[in-house]
Symmetry: C2
Subunit: 514 residues, 2 copies
């Protein structure tokens, strides 16, 4: 039974390479168990089990890390790198490039620092929860300072890349090949163009505020509907599942096992649809990786930005489009009871595209969302460049939200305390969200060129060709190319802010009649 | 966070003993991860993930086994055994006795045999599923022969206990301290007495056959009701959860994490109540073990028979009693719709106690159930004594079911192919089911002597004193005593068939008006 998946042997005929892939697979199997512990923790685990779960997680993480950083793996990488048969093989060379990168990073951190980080992350989470609840920045400040300080030490261990800065070494964890400079070059014009759209839009946006009463539905009815939607777009339930959690996420637990969670608001079922499409987008990416490459970079998602491009495409480009709702609204009207039955397609498209500046990143619309990210990116960059002290973040936050979105942040809970990322020590993660939107919009342009009747297909509830395009052009490659390279390969151009701006401009102009 | 549970250090002041307990705890933490993999496999895992799950399970099992059989553990046991401070401490001595037993057994099997067993079990499961589906004994026969043969080799590695037989070495895995001879001495009079009751009952039993229409209810309503019942009897949902699986089971995933599954039949909600009480009984036992003894024999369930005594008590002695339904029926009538509202207490008690000989063990009633077990015990005993060939099991099966229950087995699917145990290589497991019923009935007598108003408490929906009795007298001890010893300690007598016979006789006499 256990042999049905395992085909790690490459066709290269290299013994060290096959041994290397075998060891990596073993480490990945062990690490996948950690994913199940994490999934279960958020979905099924009873509350009193939390301390013991931490023990289980820490034991498995330690064992998996130990396997991955085994000196034998280092030796084998070295042997493979000097074999020209391997380095001249496209796939083997890509695998080796990425294995080397991960191995070097994993072995560059001294064990004492790793232990310190683990402890601080756990403490950080704890303090942050309480500080957010009480909206008490001063309570959180020492953690924030320590997290930035320990991230600096981590970045110093990794070392700034050639011609780059320290912050880049952290970004590398989430978006390999990207740098603060490269991101700045895209974010700067993006900011200007988005600001122009938003300021034109603001007076018009008021007309569709509020949640329509037509969106009330029982959780049970919603559950059936989102399952239907997820199945329709191509999410494979034979290799996945949907559960419920407070903060929705997707998690791959192993080969043919990529699950998602969603959440239900009893007065607003489209939230569950959007959330499910988002998470299913993530999971369909994982379902499209090559199972026989499990444990190798070729069988791994490329970067967080590319991951996010997949979730955003299904949530936004598909799931907030007129074409989608011209198919999905009649289905919803047949499924749900009440005033939804007399809802017009125009109403629906407006409702799921309402533009409302929000204090909260995760509640933001497609257009204003990116301001939240650009703010966080600027803060990380400034702190890492020692141009800003963590203590001064709240003031900067309020100033920027006022300038960008025209609203006054009432307290830090609605400001710099809202996100878990810094509390957990993730510095360099935030920009990947907007990078995801950018990659997504740029791919979307190309997709629509290559599938000219995509809109018609969508309005008939046919998503096979779109998914198959993503499988062929994105999913199946794993880490064969870097993200910037993949983007050029697919779209013919380097990543730019223009497709996202053009997409939002055209869409909002139509909906709001600008 | 991870330190909230861990207090393995004993108060004995012995360094080797503390190190030993620490190592055992680590092995147990790792092994608990396997429990989660198993739980998830039956409840949430998507079907395509099965082959990879087998890899995960096998990797974690191998790692846990390796830790538990580490020669360092053997050395430490030896050191501790020669420390009279430890051997004169009741709890430490019990721990050492049981650690020695498990360690010796785990290290007595050569790794090649363990590998062979694992492979055969996996193959056996596969073949059995197909053979049962097609009711094809010949398809299953080679597996059955191999399983008995490999169990013989296993037993030979363990060695027959002093004055015992080979079969005893297998029983020891499930019911330490029991032997075929000891079981026979109890089963023989049990068989005679039960046969007398059944034959007297059979003409009367017809009057309450069939499932009352009043028992139809939606799964959603049933789910809420069984949750209420489980909570009422004392199952701690903060340290547990209920999910659904085809074959209900209970699983402890770690400290403060003992979960159960149940199943719902839309036309028969009392099935879900009985199943839930049964599994909650198992789980409440685990919830009553001392968390600080996790990983030590003192923090482990005593034997499968004792485990079963706990599940059966809540399912049968409590859950099929008049007292219980005098409390639960009005609750059910308030909760469910339809004809149940006019159901009388008499009807209810009769319905949940209907005696109907069945071909299928797991669908059997309290009285006839034990014939199914005694048959399987006799078969195992005869095969292990080389008095019966596996090929001759179907014929013996039909003959015995006819003689014991008066019904004609139509095919092997309803006969010797119905259970998973032999397919999975478990020989010696079956007798623990009836031992559980026996331990349960004998404890029940004592409990009713010591809590004279137990029935009144039950009819008010008060279960605290009963659970607390079980906590004090059974759960908290873990493996401090052997099962036969615990039974004597609690009830003042060695295990006997009489309390079970007396319990069934009194109950059925009342219900059927014999």
């Amino acid at each position: 039974m256990s042999t049905a998946v395992a085909t790690t042997g490459s066709s290269t005929g290299s013994k060290p390479y096959d041994e290397l892939l075998g060891l990596l697979r073993e480490a990945a199997v062990l690490d996948s168990v950690r994913s199940l512990l994490g999934w279960d923790q958020e979905t099924e685990m009873p509350p009193k089990a939390a301390p013991f779960r931490a023990e289980q997680l820490s034991m498995v993480a330690t064992l998996a890390h130990k396997r991955f950083t085994d000196p034998r793996i280092g030796d084998l990488i070295g042997e493979c790198e000097s074999d020209s048969n391997l380095t001249s093989d496209d796939e083997a060379a890509a695998n080796l490039r990425e294995i080397r990168r991960s191995y070097d990073r994993a072995t560059k951190l001294p064990p004492e620092l790793v232990a310190e980080i683990t402890k601080l992350d756990s403490e950080g989470l704890h303090v942050w929860k309480e500080a957010r609840l009480q909206s008490d920045f001063e309570m959180f400040r020492p953690i924030l300072e320590k997290q930035f300080e320990i991230n600096r030490r981590k970045a110093e261990c990794y070392g700034a890349p050639q011609g780059g800065e320290l912050y880049d070494a952290l970004i590398e964890d989430f978006e390999p090949g990207m740098s603060a400079k490269a991101i700045d070059e895209i974010f700067t014009p993006l900011r200007a163009d988005l600001a122009a759209i938003i300021s034109e839009l603001r007076p018009k946006a008021k007309q569709i505020e509020g949640t329509p009463a037509a969106f009330g539905a029982s959780v049970d009815l919603q559950r059936k509907f989102v399952k239907f939607i997820a199945e329709s777009v191509g999410y494979d339930f034979k290799a996945g599942a949907i559960a419920v959690s407070t903060h929705p996420f997707s998690e791959t637990i192993g080969v043919h096992d990529s699950r998602i969670t969603t959440r239900y608001e009893e007065e607003n079922w489209p939230v569950a649809v959007a959330t499910t499409l988002h998470e299913a987008g993530h999971s369909m990416y994982e379902q499209g990786l090559r199972p026989e490459k499990f444990g190798q970079p070729l069988g791994q998602y490329l970067s967080l930005g590319i991951h996010e491009s997949q979730s955003r495409m299904w949530e936004n480009q598909v799931g907030r489009s007129r074409a989608f709702w011209s198919w999905a609204l009649p289905k919803a009207q047949a499924h749900f009871d009440g005033p939804i039955k007399s809802f017009s397609l125009d109403d629906m498209v407006k409702a799921v595209n309402s533009i409302r500046p929000s204090f909260i990143r995760v509640e933001s619309d497609e257009a204003t969302y990116n301001f939240h990210i650009m703010l966080r990116f600027d803060i990380e960059k400034m702190v890492m460049r020692e141009e800003l002290k963590p203590a001064d973040i709240p003031a900067l936050w309020k100033e920027r939200i006022k300038a960008d979105l025209g609203i006054d942040v009432p307290d830090d809970r609605h400001g710099c305390l809202q996100d878990i990322h810094w509390a957990m020590g993730s510095v360099g993660y935030f920009p990947t969200y907007t990078l995801g939107n950018l990659y997504c919009a740029q791919m979307w342009e190309t997709i629509n060129e290559q599938i000219p009747d995509l809109d018609e297909q969508t309005s008939r509830g046919e998503f096979t060709q779109l998914l198959s395009w993503l499988r062929t052009n994105v999913h199946t490659h794993g880490r064969r190319y870097t993200a910037p390279k993949l983007c050029e390969r697919i779209t013919g151009r380097p990543l730019s802010h223009k497709p996202l701006v053009a997409y939002l401009d055209a869409k909002l102009r139509e909906i709001y009649g600008l």
